[in-house]
Symmetry: C2
């Protein structure tokens, strides 16, 4: 389940990508056809870091614009040679070079493993969806910033801003064929479009876990336990991170108290979610605009300050649904053993219109970082799409803030590229048998770097062994190969022996 403010925070922590293009002078007609003249290649350190790079263990890469070589052998018309091309990804988006990809894979593997242990099933949806899935009118930031367009068939489509609506759509599509509860998870890229004035990113990945078909807070407890399991696997403790929990029924009860129409409920929630971001006057003015009377505004803002069950009971009465659900949830947390992580805090409302019950958000303690994850119960979403009323809850967990937290806490591991064996033919005539040695080792399950380029010096080879943390270096020399053997250097003990290929495989 996506959460507007998780999305917002994830995107805020991104890069400003400022692309400058070099204007190229027309090529001299007299340029020699045979020579490849590189006219200009300039580097520009033009990618300003706004905060920290969200998913990158590596230093920022300088944006780079390169100017085309003049190259008569490649006719412009045929391969579409261009005068200049930007080497940056589109504004607000990321490439994942190997070092960043290894970190992403590690993070996603942890998302997947936690979901798997909790017996959730993975699902996925198209990154492109119909705009109508998101056209809610409660003023959510996420809906106001759709990366939408009209396709060539005149359909209004959008790069998805969150995953929950797609999940709801799929649940409806599968219909009665499926038996509830569904416990589904997804890891997908989400998009927003906004003028890049504040260095926000336009895409981020989000882990979602959702339970469809369970009305009780046992479902929320299961979701929260997965989140805590994830943190714990990564070395994060309840001293580092807390999860603020509340229930939208608190706000609902307050609105009812003042006789406010339920129409305004979603809009009020979206407004008061901005409490930390906007000035109090702005919140008051926005609430006024949606027709909330002044005394009710006061009551709402007052209720949002509550942080104990006693105070909540005093306000709503002990038999209030909100109180009962919250207490049950905290009791279950104690059963799971993660009660230390939870904090009741009525100020948590979440910025998505569709939440109806429990809402929660993970936050880093003693830190300026924004919400790490968030979610809640959305029992009415499926019925707004035309399905039956279906109890459901879920959360969204972005790929940005968590990485910043892990860096802050020095909990982010190193992710080197590693191989088991490096295989090299010492003579070009041995490239064919060297390929055979590599193939046999790979088929035996070893990760093998075969040196395929020509003329490598031994100094380079040893450097490569270090860089790739290779366990063995396997050298094919003419004399040894004639005897059916290869030289094997065990790089942990720096010992060199002669072995047949069968022996090589046997050890591995």
């Amino acid at each position: 389940m996506a959460c507007a403010s998780v999305a917002r925070h994830a995107l805020e922590s991104g890069l400003v990508v400022a692309v400058s293009r070099i204007q190229l002078k027309p090529l001299a007609a007299s340029a020699s056809p045979s020579c490849l003249k590189l006219l200009t290649v300039r580097r520009h350190g033009i990618r300003a870091m706004s905060e920290t790079p969200a998913m990158s263990g590596s230093p920022p890469i300088s944006g780079r614009s390169v100017v085309v070589k003049e190259k008569e052998a490649i006719p412009k018309g045929s391969t579409g040679a261009k005068e200049t091309i930007s080497t940056d990804p589109p504004r607000g988006t990321r490439d994942f070079p190997p070092e960043d990809m290894r970190m992403r894979t590690w993070l996603f593997d942890n998302f997947r493993e936690v979901s798997r242990l909790c017996a959730f099933e993975e699902v996925d949806f198209p990154v492109l969806e119909s705009e109508e899935l998101y056209t809610r009118k409660a003023g959510e930031e996420i809906v106001g910033q759709l990366y939408n367009f009209e396709d060539k068939g005149g359909r209004k489509v959008t790069l998805r801003p969150e995953l929950t609506p797609s999940l709801a759509r799929l649940v409806l599509q599968k219909g009665r064929a499926q038996s509830y509860p569904l416990k589904w998870f997804a890891i997908g890229q989400c998009w927003r479009y906004e003028r890049m004035t504040r260095g926000r990113r336009r895409e981020h990945y989000q882990w979602n876990m959702d339970i469809i078909g369970v009305p009780g807070v046992e479902a929320e407890a299961e979701l929260l336990s997965a989140i805590v399991m994830f943190f714990t696997r990564l070395g994060i403790t309840s001293k580092d991170v807390g999860i603020k929990v509340s229930n939208r029924k608190v706000l609902q009860a307050v609105l009812e108290k003042y006789g406010i129409q339920p129409d305004s409920f979603a809009a009020v929630c979206v407004i008061v979610d901005k409490l930390e971001k906007l000035k109090r006057e702005e919140i008051v003015s926005e609430l006024d605009k949606v027709g909330v009377p002044a005394e009710a505004i006061e009551g709402i803002l007052q209720a949002l300050t509550l942080q104990s069950f006693d105070d909540l009971e005093a306000l709503l009465g002990a038999d209030s649904g909100a109180v009962t659900e919250l207490k049950q949830l905290f009791a279950l947390a104690e059963g799971y053993g993660f009660q230390d992580w939870l904090h009741f805090d009525a100020s948590v409302v979440r910025g998505l219109a569709y939440y109806t019950g429990t809402v929660f958000e993970g936050f880093a303690k003693n830190s300026q970082l924004r919400a790490i994850c968030g979610g809640g119960r959305y029992d009415r979403l499926l019925s707004t799409y035309g399905g039956e009323d279906t109890p459901a809850c879920g959360f969204g967990f972005g790929d940005a803030v968590i990485v910043e937290l892990l860096k802050d806490k020095k909990l982010l591991p190193q992710f080197p590229h590693m191989v088991d064996d490096i295989v090299i033919a010492l003579d070009d005539s041995l490239k064919v048998p060297a390929a055979g040695v590599a193939a046999r080792l790979r088929n035996a399950g070893r990760v093998v770097e075969l040196v395929i380029e020509k003329g490598r010096k031994m100094k380079w080879v040893f450097k490569q062994c270090d860089a790739l943390k290779a366990k063995r270096l396997i050298l094919l020399g003419t004399t040894e190969w004639e005897q059916g053997k290869v030289s094997v250097k065990d790089l942990s003990v720096r010992e060199q022996t002669l072995k047949t290929v069968d022996e090589l495989i046997a050890v591995s």
Copy 2:
């Protein structure tokens, strides 16, 4: 490396998604506010299967349009309740419900494992790219069918039709910081836009492996060995699948023989790639349009029929670059041990403009299936973007045709959803300790389905144990729990015992 025809074939084998929408009559103003009236829910079997569903082990899902309930408690304005919404994904795209996702994960895991064993590093790029990366003018189908649009900032962007240009862009961006060769792989979704007249899909996933910086055919051999390793892991043999190999230098030499300008080279390649699809007259007419004289057309078509090195040598001479490279590549294949899979076939040209040397394509023998994968050498692509001339080669391997082949050969495994333990509280008062038992088992690495919904009968529980192939059923009953014990049913031997939670964990 993406290949126009792999993309084409993958997309062709998709679904026709025909969405029908139900028009809803205005709600009666007199409807009771408190009752939730489901006005209409209809199912429509409107998704016609054009060929076979590409990535689906499950029967086709009926498209379904549902009509919104009237539901006064959810004000239309607040959550954007709509009158009708389609539950199908956008035209030509797929959802991945759990059963399809498990197959996709299995396929991708195999892509990843092969790439890893070959010491390739995973990379990724944005699914949205600048249109300028693809605006080549050789008439490729892939470029003519971009899923492109103008973003709100006036930038021309497109959902990527293939991965190679993004890879080239990233290589240029990283610049001299990296040491060649780069051995990179990626698994990404690619898009096309075409009028849905022939039931083609608009997206597919593609596995790419690329080697940057190696001029010799050792690089192509390494790529082909990975493809064969992949097939072999899945149980496919060289009796099922072959790989046709040729070299664009064959065609280049023929063009030179007739004194044809190199400008036309890419366009000629793109045209003759359609040889199996179009009539001979159409090919002749297209070649005529790009200025190839009649006698040259005859010579080109003649050269494309060659299937032996002897005939090739007879045409081009023994010292031709094409002959040398092809022979070297086949010798290396013998070293790796996959020579049985390769077939020299000059008719293979591939439909992408940027190939310059070796080209190849995997095909199912005795089958109507289209190309399974394809690739080749593209030594000039980076320089058309403004970088230096950089030797490079790669392949693209789609997610559609391979699955059809595996089905045909009955090699597609079953992918059931499986758990280790099912935990259930026999009394609602034991839900809290049951959560604790589940948490401890999960922390010990077991996949645990915790029954969180209320009132499940034992009959249902046992059915669930079968469905999820559970190893143990763990029951919390009041009497046993008071003694600190739970009932454990070992489902392989149908034996029930009493155990403490510590004992439960110890066995696991």
